[in-house]
């Protein structure tokens, strides 16, 4: 076992990122897709913090990035949920496969 360091955290964040991506690609429920997005954003946050800590401790860019990303994630999630709810009202379903009138 190695002393956990930057690479370990990068591994975790990358793994989380792609887990999120996988979820986004495969979940049929819109809310679970949104959850996957949250995972993606969190993995990025972790990246920023890790870089800030290990590589550029003197700077605060990474940290602020994280803060703002969290804020944006909230805003995005809010709007997305509003849209999803609206979609649910009109489609009576939040299955993404049911919302594909627009195609070709």
């Amino acid at each position: 076992m190695m002393e956990p360091g930057l690479y370990h955290i990068l591994f975790i964040s990358a793994a989380l990122f792609f887990i999120g991506v996988y979820g986004f690609l495969t979940r049929r429920n819109l809310i679970t897709m949104l959850m996957s997005i949250e995972l993606i954003l969190n993995s990025v946050n972790l990246n920023f913090i890790a870089f800030n800590k290990y590589c550029w401790p003197g700077k605060l860019d990474g940290l602020f990035f994280t803060v703002f990303i969290i804020a944006i994630a909230a805003a995005e999630a809010a709007v997305a949920i509003a849209i999803i709810i609206n979609l649910y009202r009109s489609h009576q379903s939040i299955d993404v496969e049911n919302a594909e009138d627009l195609k070709y």
């Binding site: 805003a75 995005e76 979609l87």
Partner: protein, 465 residues
């Protein structure tokens, strides 16, 4: 403080209008008609003011930059928004949430202004989101239409996904260079694989917003589902703003990676033109049709950007200006027809010329401009883009681009044919066009005809750099 007022003038003006709208909404509220007129006047004032008191400099460290060129780009966007407010008046008057609509639209516009002016990846990211999330909400403004919410859903999810990838890229970039500032980045880029990876991730966000193939798939669905005003906004304002910042970023920030992005642009430009054109060929819905055509147009913008030279910047800005007029004219006609008759299919346009010659001529003019046929300005715009692309001696590339113009002509002519040639038992009846719409269409028409021949516009843009 004075500096803040001049340099951030556009942003402050837009913010002022946003808050005015907010107060109006919170307060008594106004009738749609009067509110619309008010907004139109405000936007006009905003547009006109865009040409005065322009400064050059940085604010907030180097987070916010402005130059005459950026100011001009903002003016183009202002103009586009003003025209949309005129063109889509029919739809806007009917909507229940007019104040909110403009509030969101102007927020997005603000986001775009900040994006163009951003001097830092953080502010860029935030303004990008500011320019996206409200639009996603706007896309859902046809509240009782299924398609509208479907489009909005696709947009918000795709853009969230894309910003996830963007952020991942930014984080890697930050990790390797330790900075997110545009002015510091170029010196720190060494072209290591990880940076290339990060750059590609970053690139895709632009590609997503610009609808570059294969990141374009959301475009058509969202355009079709959204209210026409939103579609017009998306296709013109949003695209234009992203094109500007994209170009600025590539030219200034990622200059060390020129070799990478040049090839990437060429490949993607070809793919974009081709796919956009091939899809546009068989569209029936006019909005969807214009969506794909705008994708193909982006391919040409990419060609212009690939020049990596002053001529590239000039011709892209010039093209976007022309594109504003041409695309808005076609969207305007589509909006008028859709709002008055509910028809959005190209087949429904058959025989339009018999009943609505004015609309038909404007539409034809706009489509010819999009296709790049003289004497419309689109011809010059497109040609200059290709000239820019040719400056790297990539003949095969301009050949492909030029051949793509043939395919695009084919489908533009399809609409022209429907309008002018095809017979129809029940053509669209004579539409009474309101004064503001007519004026906007005339402005667009005049822009399309004159912009190419008034070369000082082009030279003005060139002089701004």
């Amino acid at each position: 403080m004075n500096e803040l007022l001049t340099l951030m003038k556009s942003e402050l003006l837009v913010t002022a209008i946003i808050f005015l709208l907010l107060f109006i909404k919170i307060g008594k509220g106004l009738k749609n008609e009067s509110l619309l007129s008010l907004v139109q006047v405000l936007l006009l004032v905003n547009f006109v003011l865009g040409f005065f008191f322009n400064g050059e400099g940085n604010l907030f460290g180097d987070m916010f930059t402005t130059t005459p060129l950026i100011a001009f780009q903002k003016s183009i966007l202002n103009l586009a928004v003003y025209l949309i407010s005129l063109l889509c008046a029919d739809w806007l008057k009917k909507t229940q949430h007019l104040a909110e609509f403009f509030l969101l639209m102007l927020s997005a516009l603000l986001g775009m202004f900040l994006m163009i002016s951003s001097g830092n990846l953080l502010i860029f990211y935030l303004s990008l989101e500011l320019a996206t999330i409200p639009v996603a909400a706007m896309a859902n403004f046809d509240l009782d239409k299924k398609r509208s919410s479907e489009g909005a859903m696709k947009m918000i999810l795709s853009s969230a996904f894309s910003s996830g990838i963007l952020l991942f890229g930014i984080s890697l970039l930050y990790g390797t260079t330790g900075t997110v500032s545009f002015s510091e980045l170029p010196g720190l880029l060494d072209g290591s694989p990880l940076q290339v990876l990060a750059f590609v991730f970053l690139f895709t966000a632009f590609a997503f917003k610009l609808s570059i193939v294969p990141f374009h798939l959301w475009t058509a669905d969202v355009y079709e589902g959204s209210p026409i005003a939103v579609t017009a906004f998306l296709s013109v304002v949003s695209k234009g703003a992203v094109a500007f910042i994209f170009m600025a970023t590539l030219f200034k920030v990622f200059q060390p990676m020129l070799a990478t992005w040049y090839i990437m642009l060429v490949i993607l430009a070809v793919a974009t033109m081709l796919i956009g054109n091939l899809f546009a060929l068989r569209q029936q819905n006019i909005k969807r049709f214009l969506a794909f055509s705008s994708i193909a147009q982006v391919g040409f913008i990419l060609a212009g950007i690939s020049s990596n030279a002053v001529i590239g910047t000039t011709s892209v800005v010039y093209f976007v200006l022309i594109y504003v007029f041409s695309n808005l004219a076609s969207f305007g006609v589509a909006a008028v027809i859709s709002e008055n008759t509910g028809k959005e299919n190209i087949d429904d346009y058959k025989g339009l010329y018999k009943t609505n010659p004015f609309l038909s001529w404007i539409l034809a003019l706009a489509l010819f401009s999009l296709a790049g046929i003289p004497p419309t300005a689109g011809f010059f715009g497109k040609l200059f883009l290709l000239t820019a692309a040719g400056s790297t001696a990539a003949y095969w590339f301009i050949t492909v681009a030029a051949l793509n113009m043939i395919i695009s002509l084919f489908y533009y002519l399809r609409v022209v044919r429907a309008v002018f040639m095809d017979k129809n038992e029940q053509p669209i009846e004579k539409i009474k066009i309101s004064a503001s719409v007519k004026m906007a269409l005339l402005i667009c028409g005049a822009g399309i005809v004159l912009l190419g021949l008034l070369s000082w516009v082009f030279e003005h843009i060139e002089s701004l750099q």
